[in-house]
C-alpha cells in the first residue's frame, strides 16, 4: 500500500461484505484480498451468487441499502475508498473509476438524448457546451460509432443493444478513468455483437492506460480479455493466477470442475457426457468452517471439512486448496460413458416441413419472419437452430407448435400425417406430440401449485393418467429428470433455476412427446447446471427416442446436442446439414462468421472473420443474397442481384451461397474453427 511509484489501481485487503436480511448479516464476500496493477486487466469469474458484482459495487461504494462492509479495506489508486466523505467520493467516481454495466438498455436514461448523457460527463470537468459536444463526438468516434452526431440526437431505445453498449463504454471512458470496471458487459448480446464489443475493448485497452476489472461468468470471454484471473466461490477467492495458467493448468478442484462442465473441442452427445458439479453453492451467510467447496468436492477429506485452507502461494499464483497439487485428479462426478447407442431409427422423418412462411404485418409493411423454410427432422435426433436474434428461430419454433399460424401454401407433416398450422385444428394426439421447454422455467410452471400438482395435471391432460397409474408414472418421471420425491411437495419458487428447468422438462415429457422444442433451455443457467441439463436432455433422448428442435445462441451447446444444424438469417435457411459437416466446414460465410465470433478457451490466435453492423430489418431485406450487406466473402454484383438457391454441396449438406463449394473449401481451409 505504501508503494511510492505508481500506486496499484485497486487493492482489496481482507474485504468482507454482508447483506442485512431479516435483522441478520449474511456474508457475501469473505476476507477477499486482491490487487490489480496499473494497466492490468484482471478477470473475476464464478457462478451466480458467488459475489462478483458485490465486489464491483463495493469498490464504487454503491452497495444496496442493506449492504455493509463488515471488515477490510478498499484502496483505489492509493485512496482508501471507505474513508472518503461524500464530496471526495463523488470526485473519485467522476475522475478515477468508471463502470460498464450488463444491461446497456437499462443503464442509459430512457428520457434523455445520448448526446446530453455524454456531454454532462465533460461538463463535470468544467468543459463548456460546444467543447463538450466536440469531445463527446470524438469519444463516440473512438468507440467506432460511425455517425456520432446522429447518434447523439437519439434516445437509447432507438439504438440496438450493441450500439447502446458502445455508448456505455464511451461514457465510461469519457472521464479517462484509472480503473475501469466491466460487469458482464457482453452478457445478453448476440455472439457477433459480443465479438465486436470485445474487439473494441481489447483495442481501447491498447490506446488507454486504464486498468480493468472484468467480471464475467463466461470463462472464454475472460480468457480472451484478461491477463490474470481470480476464481470466486462463496465470496472467497479460491484460485488466482495468469489466465493461461488458471485455465490450462487449474490448481483448485472448483476451477477444474467448472472447466469440465463446458462442452469443448467439439464434444458431442454420442461421445461423452459432460461432467457436473454436485450440490449447491453455500447460501449467503452460511457458516463455513472448512473449505467452502468441500461439500461438493470428490477430493475432500475430513481436513477439508474442518480446516479452511489458506491461499497457498504456488509461485506467482494462488490456490485455496489443501491438496492443490492433486486438484486435477478430481474424479468425474458424472461418468463420461453413455448408454449404448440406440438401434438405428426408422428413416421416415417424424416431422417434414415444406415451404413454410410466416408474414407479419408491421406498421403497414409486410415482415417476412420465416421465408420458405423446408426441412426434415428424423426420429430420435436433434435439429439445432442457430442465428442472431432477429433471424427467425423463435418464430419458426412457434409455427411448429401452432402458437402462431403459418402463411397458407406451405405444409407440415407429423409422422406422415398433415399437421394443421393452427393449434385448434390439430388432433389431440398431435398437440400432445409436440412440447416445449422455455428459457425461463417460471413461465411454464404455475407458481401457485406444488410440483406434484403441476406434474399430476400434466400427466392427466397429456397422458390421460389417473389415480395409481398417474402416481406411478409421476415417480418415474420425476426420477428420470433426477429429482427426488421430496421435491414433489414444494412450490416452484423454492427450487433453484436448474431444478425448475428439470421440472419443466419432466412436464414436457409427461405425454411421451415425439418432438420437444427447446428454446434456449440453458441460457439462464450457470455452466455446472447447464451441463447437468444437457446430459439430461441427451439421456432422455436415448431412452425415449424423442426428437429435439434445439435453439441456442451458444454454438458449443448446440454442437454438443445436435445431429443436424440449420443456420437461419432473416428467416431463411442459409445452411443446413449434419452437425459435424456444418461445424467443420466448408460452411456458409455467415456460419463461418458466427463460429469465429465465439470466444474460445482453447484459442491460440484471435479469429479472423468479423461481421460489421447489425442484422438488417426483415421489413426491408437486402436484395439478392440477404447476407451480402455484411458478407466478408462477397464476390460481386451477383450477390446483390440474385438470391442464391439452397444448393446441395455434398450429401445432405446444403448451402445458400453463390461461391462454389470447392472455392469455399479453399477459402476456409486454414481456419479450423472449434467452438469452446
Amino acid at each position: 500500500m505504501t508503494d511510492l511509484s505508481t500506486p496499484n489501481a485497486l487493492e482489496l485487503h481482507h474485504l468482507s461484505v454482508a447483506y442485512r436480511v431479516g435483522g441478520r448479516n449474511r456474508a457475501v464476500l469473505r476476507d477477499l484480498s486482491l490487487t490489480i496493477r496499473p494497466g492490468e486487466a484482471y478477470g473475476l469469474v464464478g457462478e451466480s451468487g458467488c459475489g462478483k458484482s458485490t465486489v464491483a459495487l463495493s469498490v464504487v461504494r454503491y452497495l444496496p441499502r442493506n449492504g455493509v462492509i463488515t471488515a477490510g479495506e478498499i484502496a483505489l489508486v492509493g485512496h482508501n475508498v471507505m474513508k472518503l466523505d461524500n464530496e471526495s467520493l463523488r470526485r473519485m467516481r467522476a475522475e478515477s473509476v468508471s463502470m460498464v454495466y450488463q444491461d446497456p438498455g437499462k443503464a442509459l436514461n430512457p428520457s434523455i438524448r445520448i448526446g446530453r448523457q455524454m456531454t454532462e460527463i465533460f461538463e463535470l470537468r468544467g468543459i463548456s457546451d460546444q467543447a463538450a459536444v466536440d469531445q463527446a463526438i470524438s469519444m463516440l468516434n473512438r468507440v467506432r460509432i460511425s455517425d456520432p452526431i446522429r447518434v447523439m440526437q437519439r434516445y437509447p431505445h432507438q439504438l440496438s443493444g450493441g450500439m447502446q453498449q458502445r455508448v456505455g463504454i464511451a461514457m465510461a471512458l469519457a472521464s479517462d478513468p484509472t480503473m475501469l470496471i466491466l460487469d458482464e458487459p457482453t452478457t445478453g448480446l448476440d455472439a457477433t455483437v459480443e465479438a465486436e464489443v470485445l474487439d473494441l475493448i481489447a483495442k481501447l485497452r491498447q490506446e488507454l492506460s486504464a486498468s480493468i476489472l472484468f467480471i464475467s461468468h463466461n470463462l472464454a470471454v475472460v480468457s480472451r480479455m484478461c491477463d490474470r484471473v481470480g476464481v470466486l466461490y462463496a465470496g472467497m477467492l479460491v484460485e488466482e493466477g495468469t489466465t493461461a495458467e488458471v485455465f490450462n493448468n487449474p490448481r483448485h478442484p472448483y476451477t477444474v470442475a467448472l472447466l469440465r462442465c463446458l462442452p469443448r473441442g467439439g464434444q458431442r452427445k454420442d461421445q461423452i457426457r459432460l461432467d457436473t458439479i454436485p450440490g449447491f453453492l453455500p447460501a449467503p451467510g452460511a457458516t463455513i468452517t472448512g473449505c467452502p467447496f468441500a461439500d461438493r468436492c470428490a477430493l475432500a477429506d475430513s481436513r477439508c471439512h474442518n480446516e479452511l485452507p489458506p491461499l497457498h502461494d504456488l509461485g506467482g499464483r494462488l490456490s485455496r486448496c489443501h491438496y492443490h497439487e492433486r486438484a486435477q485428479d478430481l474424479p468425474r462426478t458424472t461418468p463420461g460413458s453413455i448408454a449404448a447407442a440406440p438401434a438405428a431409427h426408422g428413416r421416415e422423418p417424424v416431422l417434414r416441413i415444406k415451404d413454410l412462411n410466416k408474414t407479419y404485418a408491421a406498421h403497414g409493411h409486410a415482415l417476412r419472419a420465416v421465408n420458405d423454410v423446408s426441412l426434415d427432422l428424423m426420429p430420435g435426433q436433434t435439429l439445432g437452430l442457430v442465428g442472431e436474434s432477429g433471424s427467425g428461430k423463435t418464430t419458426f419454433a412457434r409455427l411448429l407448435l401452432g402458437l402462431v399460424p403459418a402463411d397458407s401454401g406451405g405444409s407440415m407433416q407429423l409422422d406422415g400425417q398433415p399437421l394443421a398450422s393452427k393449434l385448434e385444428s390439430r388432433s389431440a394426439d398431435q398437440v400432445k406430440a409436440m412440447q416445449i421447454v422455455f428459457q425461463n422455467p417460471d413461465s411454464a410452471l404455475n407458481r401457485a401449485h406444488s410440483i406434484r400438482h403441476i406434474m399430476g395435471r400434466a400427466l392427466r391432460t397429456l397422458a390421460g393418467l389417473k389415480g395409481a397409474a398417474q402416481q406411478k408414472r409421476l415417480i418415474e418421471l420425476v426420477r428420470s429428470v433426477r429429482l427426488t420425491e421430496r421435491h414433489l411437495s414444494v412450490k416452484p419458487r423454492q427450487l433453484s433455476g436448474g431444478l425448475k428447468q428439470r421440472v419443466a422438462i419432466a412436464r414436457a415429457f409427461a405425454g411421451d412427446p415425439r418432438i420437444v422444442v427447446c428454446d434456449e433451455p440453458t441460457s439462464a443457467l450457470d455452466v455446472s447446471v447447464q451441463a447437468a441439463i444437457l446430459n439430461l436432455l441427451a439421456d432422455l433422448q436415448t431412452k425415449e427416442h424423442v426428437s429435439y428442435i434445439f435453439i441456442s445462441h451458444d454454438l458449443a451447446v448446440v454442437r454438443y446436442l445436435s445431429d443436424h444444424i440449420a443456420v437461419l438469417y432473416l428467416g431463411r435457411i442459409m445452411e443446413i446439414g449434419p452437425s459435424e459437416r456444418v461445424f467443420s466446414g466448408p460452411h456458409h460465410p455467415y456460419t463461418e462468421a458466427l463460429l469465429s465470433a465465439v470466444p474460445k478457451l482453447d484459442e491460440t490466435e484471435p479469429s479472423r472473420v468479423r461481421l460489421d453492423g447489425e442484422i438488417p430489418s426483415a421489413v426491408n431485406p437486402p436484395s439478392g443474397c440477404v447476407f451480402h450487406t455484411r458478407c466478408p466473402r462477397k464476390i460481386g454484383a451477383i450477390c446483390e442481384e440474385q438470391e442464391p438457391p439452397l444448393f446441395d454441396s455434398e450429401p445432405e449438406h446444403r448451402i445458400r451461397c453463390h461461391i462454389p463449394f470447392e472455392e469455399l473449401a479453399r477459402l476456409q481451409k486454414k481456419q479450423e474453427v472449434i467452438p469452446a
Partner: protein
C-alpha cells in the same frame, strides 16, 4: 412510427371515446326518459288528472316511439341544443354551461393546491423511505383519501368557517367579485377535494420516485460522479413523474364530475349541484344533459392524459426506427 403513430393512436382513442359516449347517451336516455315510466305522471304527481298527464306527455313528445325520441334528443344535443328544462321552461344549455364554468373554477383551485403539494409530498417521502416523514406523508395521505368529502367538508366548515371564522362557509361570492375574492371563497370547498387527491398523487409520485431511484440509469448517473441534485433533477424526476402526470390528468374527470357532494355542501352552483337539483325536481332534460356533459369531460380528460403520456415519453413519441 413517431408523429404518425401518435396521430393514429389519437384517432383510435377518439373513435373509442365516441363509442363510449354513445353508450353513455343511451344509458342516460333510458335512465331519464324510460325508467321513470310515465314522465308526465312523475312530474305532475299521483293526484293529477290522467288527461293532464297525457297532455303533458304529448307536449313533451314523450308519446312518440323511443327511437324517434332518442334520435331527436341526441341529434339536437350534438348541435348544442340540450332541450328545454321542464322546471324553468327555458333552454338547458346555458344552465349547463354556467354550471360547468363554475365547476371548472373549483376544480382549478383544487388542482393548483394539490398538484404541486402532492408531487412534493411524494418526492419527500421517496427520498426518506421508511423514515418518519415518509410514514406521515404516506399514511396521512392514505387516511385522508378514504375519508368521504362530506365528512372532511363538514369538519372544515366547522373548523375554518364556524370556529376560526377564517373562510366563508358558502361558496357564494357577492356578484361582481374579482378573481381573488372568488378564489378566497373557493378555498374551503377545495380542501376536501385536496384531501381526496393528495394521498393519491403523493403515492404515485412516491412509487415513481422509488422506482427511478433504484433504476440502473440512476446508478449510472451517480457513478458518473454527478452531484446529487443533478442526479435527482435531470435523471430521476423526469422518469419518476411520467406516470404521475397521467394520473393527474385522469383525475380532472373526477374533479369536475365528482363534485355533487362538495358543491351541494357548500351551496356552489356547479354542475354537480345542478344535476342534484335536476334529479330532485325530476327535470330530466337538465339531468340528462348534465350527466352526458360530465361524460364528455371524462372522455376528453382521459384522452389528454394518454396524449400527454405519449408526448412526454420518447419511447412512445419516437418509437423505434431500427
Amino acid at each position: 412510427m413517431g408523429a404518425r403513430a401518435i396521430l393514429s393512436f389519437l384517432l383510435k382513442r377518439i373513435a373509442l371515446s365516441i363509442v363510449t359516449l354513445f353508450l353513455l347517451s343511451i344509458m342516460v336516455f333510458l335512465g331519464g326518459q324510460v325508467l321513470p315510466g310515465n314522465v308526465g305522471r312523475a312530474i305532475l304527481g299521483p293526484l293529477a288528472d290522467q288527461r293532464a298527464v297525457d297532455a303533458l306527455n304529448h307536449s313533451l313528445g314523450l308519446d312518440r316511439p323511443l327511437l324517434v325520441q332518442y334520435w331527436d334528443w341526441i341529434s339536437h344535443f350534438v348541435q348544442g341544443d340540450m332541450g328545454t328544462s321542464y322546471i324553468f321552461r327555458a333552454p338547458v344549455a346555458p344552465f349547463v354551461i354556467d354550471a360547468l364554468g363554475n365547476s371548472m373554477k373549483l376544480a382549478l383551485v383544487a388542482f393548483i393546491m394539490v398538484v404541486p403539494l402532492g408531487i412534493l409530498g411524494g418526492i419527500i417521502a421517496a427520498l426518506n423511505v421508511n423514515r418518519p416523514i415518509d410514514r406521515i406523508i404516506s399514511l396521512g395521505g392514505l387516511s385522508a383519501t378514504v375519508l368521504p368529502e362530506f365528512v372532511t367538508g363538514i369538519i372544515f366548515i366547522l373548523l375554518f368557517g364556524v370556529w376560526l371564522n377564517w373562510l366563508p362557509i358558502a361558496a357564494v361570492w357577492p356578484p361582481g367579485s374579482g378573481v381573488f375574492t372568488q378564489i378566497y371563497y373557493l378555498i374551503l370547498p377545495a380542501l376536501p377535494l385536496f384531501l381526496v387527491l393528495f394521498g393519491y398523487i403523493a403515492r404515485m409520485a412516491r412509487s415513481g420516485m422509488i422506482e427511478a431511484l433504484d433504476a440502473d440509469y440512476t446508478r449510472t448517473a451517480v457513478l458518473k460522479g454527478l452531484p446529487w441534485h443533478t442526479v435527482i433533477w435531470r435523471h430521476v424526476l423526469r422518469n419518476a413523474l411520467l406516470p404521475t402526470i397521467t394520473v393527474i390528468a385522469t383525475q380532472t374527470g373526477y374533479l369536475i364530475g365528482g363534485l355533487v357532494v362538495v358543491e351541494t355542501l357548500f351551496r356552489y352552483q356547479g354542475i354537480g349541484s345542478l344535476i342534484f337539483t335536476a334529479a330532485r325536481g325530476k327535470d330530466f332534460p337538465v339531468l340528462e344533459a348534465g350527466i352526458l356533459t360530465i361524460g364528455i369531460i371524462y372522455a376528453v380528460a382521459t384522452l389528454i392524459a394518454d396524449l400527454l403520456y405519449s408526448v412526454l415519453n420518447p419511447r412512445i413519441r419516437l418509437g423505434t426506427d431500427q
